[in-house]
Amino acid sequence: MTRCSLLVLALSSLSLAQTGVFQAANPHYPNRNPFYFEGKIDYEKLGIASPGNAWEYAQRGIHRQDDLEDIAGAVADYRESLSLNSLTEGSCQIVTSVPAQDFGKLDPPPCMFTVRLRLGYLLMRGTPEEAITLFQEVLQIDPQRLEVNALIGAAYQTSASRAKGSERRRLYSQAIAAYQAELALSPVTAQTTALTGDEANNAHTHWALAGIYEKLEEPASAIAEYELYLKATKWHSDVYPWRIPIAQKKIGLLRAALPQ
């Protein structure tokens, strides 16, 4: 009798585990999610002899890029991954609502962002336009994700540096808009300042904007951005600390050149 009860109990536990309703009565227990693991797993642990799906191609691409410095191989794997996780071909979807049940079984599966970011980064110097398209897909997947707008800004900067005339100015304007969008995602609010003492953040974004305004010969805007860069580095310095005295010097030079 006892043995029979245990068997029933074990089977019912198994059944609950399989349907994912463990803790279903607890409203505060985290829901399962349908998303791929975004990030990098030690490749040797995966035991992938030959990639069989979008995620496995992405993981092999990461292994080739990070561990083997095989950039061509990584690009090929990322492209194959995206051919199997494609927005345009409908082999992945943007999640816009929480399904009522079976959240772990979305079909088609959600679109991945890591593979798009990594391929876009590798294409930024050669084909920035293609990189921008990939980054914009990431913003469709997760519009709140930090760094993506800054990458778009950097890609537009690369394009602008190769263009001339009005096209150059248009591309720089696009870069400025992208960098401003990056700043808007983590604004410095009164709460930020009260909690941290920071009056500005995103030092690298302000540095990039200042450089663009200098190229566009808009000294007042360049000065404003260099000043924000200095505020952002006041309590955080910079990985390139020599930029701080350069910013101070540029502010002086730009101010001197302003019309009286």
Binding site: H28, F37, G39, S97, R118, L195, T196, H236, V239, W242
Partner: protein, 378 residues
């Protein structure tokens, strides 16, 4: 030199790294049990090699010894007790911990680019391995923090690049209104985050409205590396051997720091294990298999050198060291606020505050290091 009874160094190969580390297992000679107390009928014992049972780990209490003994008993050992035991082993947990950490990791810069040019990028390759037999850090690896501090200087000592650095700053959130001259209580500069401590709600209701745990401030810093390296694949920024807690917010959720209601999923690092619903345990350092971390470093060009009034002098000096801090200060500040008088309990639980963070959060720096010189082409 180890403060333990020292058996010399061992040199061995791990992947392509030649590793030198203190020889383990210098066993003291003693009775395996206490004669007449742990043996029946005063059974005669022979002295033999024995193993001590300190079970030293990588954490030390964030409490003074008096408070520890008041809470846990008057015979609770002082984590910082001076001297050695009868076998010559350090009495202090803190000392044993530091020795343990110094044997845990090795780092090499030997595959770094050998030449660099002003105005151009060059690659530093830091190859690191955990010798612990498990990932490093392990255990509560989403808060225990190990990282690479890296600097590049020219031959005149001009600092050209830094990663894994800290800056002395105020912490108004916990009442520290000015820099205090202490770097051990500073977070690394890859991320600026402040965690919502929650607030007292009567009657108590579970969930973020009362408990907080969302990020009140969340922005990437100038040394952004962990996210950048993993998701973008860019060889830049901090190398952080800390696993990551993540909250996958779903459509309809709020981030808690503004009024935005999400219409798409959003992945964001969080610092509370109970609030996370995903975890990345592959950011810590893999054991016995060296991993290479690249840094693409841009050198100042001629115009920038002129603006600085300097001329770069070769060779460049690259220094890398692995440091360990047992908790990120932002996590302890979250604990201070959430257990403080304004937290969900509605009164001060007397666990941790800015003063105890300043006093007891001590980083163990330079548990492994390497240096490399790079020729400067003009």
């Amino acid at each position: 030199m180890s403060t333990f009874p020292f058996g010399g160094n061992s040199t061995y190969q791990v992947g392509d790294l030649k590793v030198t580390s203190p020889t383990p297992a210098v066993f003291p000679t003693d009775f395996a049990a206490v004669p007449g107390i742990s043996t029946d009928l005063d059974y005669p014992l022979q002295k033999r090699p024995v193993v001590t049972h300190y079970f030293t780990g990588v954490d030390v209490p964030i409490l003074d010894t008096g408070s520890l003994q008041a809470r846990l008993g008057s015979n609770y050992p002082d984590p910082h007790q001076a001297g050695t035991d009868s076998h010559g082993l350090p009495n202090a947990l803190a000392s044993r911990r530091a020795e343990l950490l110094k044997a845990a990791v090795r780092i090499s810069l030997s595959h770094t680019d050998t030449t660099a040019t002003a105005g151009q990028p060059f690659l530093v390759r830091a190859e690191a391995v955990s010798l612990t037999g498990h990932r490093f850090p392990a255990g509560f690896s989403q808060e225990r923090t190990a990282y690479i501090e890296l600097t590049v200087k020219d031959d005149n000592g001009v600092l050209l690049y830094q990663s894994g650095y800290q800056v002395d700053k105020p912490h108004p959130e916990t009442g520290e209104t000015a820099p205090d001259g202490n770097l051990d209580d500073e977070d690394l500069e890859h991320l600026h985050a402040v965690v919502d401590p929650g607030r007292a709600v009567a009657p108590y209701q579970p969930g973020p409205a009362g408990n907080g745990h969302t990020n009140q401030v969340f922005e990437l810093g100038p040394d952004s590396g962990p996210e950048t390296r993993v998701y973008i694949g860019a060889p830049e920024g901090l190398v952080l051997f800390r696993n990551a807690l993540t909250r996958i917010y779903l459509p309809g959720d709020s981030l808690g720091r503004n009024n935005t209601v999400l219409d798409r999923p959003h992945f964001e690092e969080v610092f509370s294990a109970s609030f996370a619903n995903a975890v990345d345990n592959y950011r810590s350092l893999a054991p016995l298999r060296p991993t290479t971390y690249r840094y693409e470093i841009q050198l100042p060009g001629i115009e920038e050198q002129q603006a600085l009034g300097i001329q770069l002098k070769g060779p460049l000096h690259v220094h890398a060291q692995v440091n360990f801090e047992h908790f990120p200060p932002l996590f302890l500040r979250f604990l201070a606020r959430t257990t403080g008088p304004d937290g969900p309990a509605g009164h001060d639980l007397q666990l941790v505050n800015e003063q105890s963070i300043d006093t007891f959060l001590a980083n163990i720096k330079n548990i492994a290091s390497d240096d490399f010189t790079v020729e400067l082409a003009q």
